[in-house]
């Protein structure tokens, strides 16, 4: 039976130890296979907790009436290692996920854990480093790399074990704009080439705008899920919970308010520009 959903949460309740309030309050959602899904929401809304639940780094409060399903496997003690092989997480801090003493060592870490024979390991390490454009740095030490380069190595380390799902847990938030753009470009290309499912937890609203699907979290609850067009049209809702919205949506909203009604189908900067130019011509 083919599986359409990469990740499925059913009724998940999660509370951190020594706290009263649940971080995730009985949430359910589905993430389609092969899609790019962005999770947005404030700090503390439970975004990162979701990523740690997906590969079993954290376990939900009770498993009686809830279920986490990853790639058709139900997450439990037996499947957790299998699921971890299929799910790679790129974390926020570039330094705190660099295990190896050199770039090559770090990329090989996941392969070493899976007891891949050395001759195959050497080949894979070279291939994935070439994929992220870091092959020249194979012997470099992390102290001599920039944040963006370290994140590229982290991506390579995850690609090496051929996952089906990549989770970007605010992976670009500590990088400068050019570093961020580079990382997203690499992920976009790899997603296409290797048919990956990407789950991106982000504060970068423009990045979320390019996703296939957006999930909005607030206070441990899912507020909305849908395509960026649907989500960002709900300007008021997003502003109410204090989330930013992409520039184009903001502008359209303002234009509507001053009486220039922009057609519903205009969603990108270029379309809006063209529409506004023609609007002037018509007058």
């Amino acid at each position: 039976m083919p599986v359409d959903n990469a990740v499925e949460f059913k009724n998940i309740l999660f509370t951190y130890p020594d706290t009263e309030k649940a971080v995730l309050d009985k949430i359910s959602f589905k993430i389609k296979k092969g899609s790019w899904t962005s999770l947005i929401g404030h700090n503390g809304s439970g975004k990162s907790t979701i990523s740690k639940l997906i590969n079993g780094l954290l376990l939900p409060d009770s498993i009686a009436d809830s279920k986490i399903n990853v790639l058709g496997m139900e997450l439990n003690q037996e499947t957790v290692w299998k699921i971890r092989e299929k799910v790679g997480i790129v974390f926020q801090n570039p330094d705190n996920q660099f295990v190896g003493a050199t770039v090559g060592d770090d990329v090989a870490f996941g392969l070493e854990n899976r007891a891949v024979p050395r001759n195959r390991m050497v080949k894979i390490v070279r291939n994935v480093l070439a994929d992220v454009g870091m092959l020249d740095y194979i012997n470099a030490e992390p102290a001599n790399l920039s944040g963006g380069q370290k994140q590229r190595v982290a991506i390579a380390g995850i690609l090496a074990v051929e996952p089906e799902i990549i989770i970007l847990d605010e992976s670009t938030s500590m990088l400068d704009p050019s570093g961020r753009e580079q990382i997203l470009k690499i992920i976009r290309r790899l997603k296409k080439e290797k048919n990956l499912t990407v789950i991106s937890i982000t504060h970068d609203i423009d990045e979320a705008n390019m996703a296939d699907d957006v999930i909005v979290l607030n206070d441990g609850k899912i507020l909305a899920q849908g395509t960026p067009t649907i989500i960002f049209d709900k300007t008021e809702m997003l502003e109410k919970i204090g989330l930013d919205i992409p520039f184009v949506y903001k502008l359209i909203d303002k234009l509507n308010k001053v009486g220039i009604s922009v057609p519903q189908n205009i969603k990108t900067k270029d379309e809006l520009k063209q529409y506004l130019c023609q609007l002037n011509l018509k007058k």
Binding site: R84, F91, Q97, A101, L111
Partner: protein
């Protein structure tokens, strides 16, 4: 400043650099033991010549080795002086209270001086030509027999390699914290010893918290990358013997042979 490394590794390309760290570590330890075989002027001359040839073979400047000896020069002289004034026997040149200057004392002081200097020099040869990580690898190999006694050698090796990898990271963090405290008016350079020691507290506390956070993050990352235990893992980095190691071995056997022939029995 961020390029600080543990140890004193200096990149180079001479024969000694091409040696396997395992044989370097082993030959160094055995060489130090062999120094104690020397017990007369000829054998001391032989072992000194062998040691200096090794120093020359590194192809590094003399200053590197002088820097290795310098911090310990006081200790060397002190030990030699003890030998010189407290050892009695042979012809006594001078005597006062408990001090005496004898021919035995004189000879022994010189021997001790040579012995000490050679030990430092030969270990400097190893530390400047081997990366700390390679030394850790070599030590892991040497400790392997301990696995029989259930010592988790693999785990220890992983811990050491991670510790080495995080030295520059924590050093960077220390600088950051120091600057942050300076901008709040902290003064690390003035005042007496106690005051300076006190000034370190506002650095140590945040650094300590930071390293704990790093450790938590790192363990999460390691787990999510499939780390379960140190057993059943394969190794990316492997050590391999080369011709240079054979040369080193022959060199060492030659030294021991000469020492055994010429030492006083």
């Amino acid at each position: 400043m961020s390029k600080i490394i543990v140890g004193r590794y200096i990149p180079g390309h001479s024969l000694i650099y091409k040696m396997d760290p395992r044989s370097k570590l082993l030959v160094t330890i055995l060489f130090i033991l062999a120094i104690f075989l020397a017990n007369n002027p000829i054998t001391y001359a032989i072992v000194t010549i062998f040691c200096f040839l090794a120093v020359i073979a590194t192809g590094l400047k003399a200053k590197v080795f002088w820097d290795g000896v310098k911090p310990l020069i006081g200790l060397i002289f002190f030990t030699s002086l003890l030998q010189l004034f407290f050892m009695t026997g042979g012809h006594i040149y001078w005597h006062w209270w408990i001090f005496s200057l004898s021919s035995y004392g004189l000879v022994n002081a010189i021997y001790i001086f040579i012995r000490f200097t050679l030990i430092i020099l030969i270990s400097t040869v190893m530390t400047v030509t081997t990366m700390p990580l390679e030394i850790a690898d070599a030590m892991e190999w040497l400790l392997k027999p301990l696995k029989l006694f259930k010592v988790p050698v693999d785990k220890i090796a992983l811990v050491i390699s991670i510790a080495l990898r995080f030295v520059p990271t924590l050093f960077d963090e220390t600088l950051k914290i120091m600057n942050a405290q300076r901008s709040r008016g902290a003064d690390f350079n003035d005042g007496g010893l106690i005051q300076r020691a006190k000034a370190i507290t506002p650095i140590l506390v945040p650094l300590f918290i930071h390293s704990l956070e790093t450790a938590i993050d790192l363990s999460t990352a390691m787990e999510s990358r499939g780390y379960r235990s140190s057993e059943g893992r394969t190794r990316y980095r492997v050590l391999s013997w080369s011709k240079c190691d054979l040369i080193a071995l022959i060199y060492f056997v030659l030294l021991v042979g000469l020492l055994l022939i010429f030492r006083t029995h």
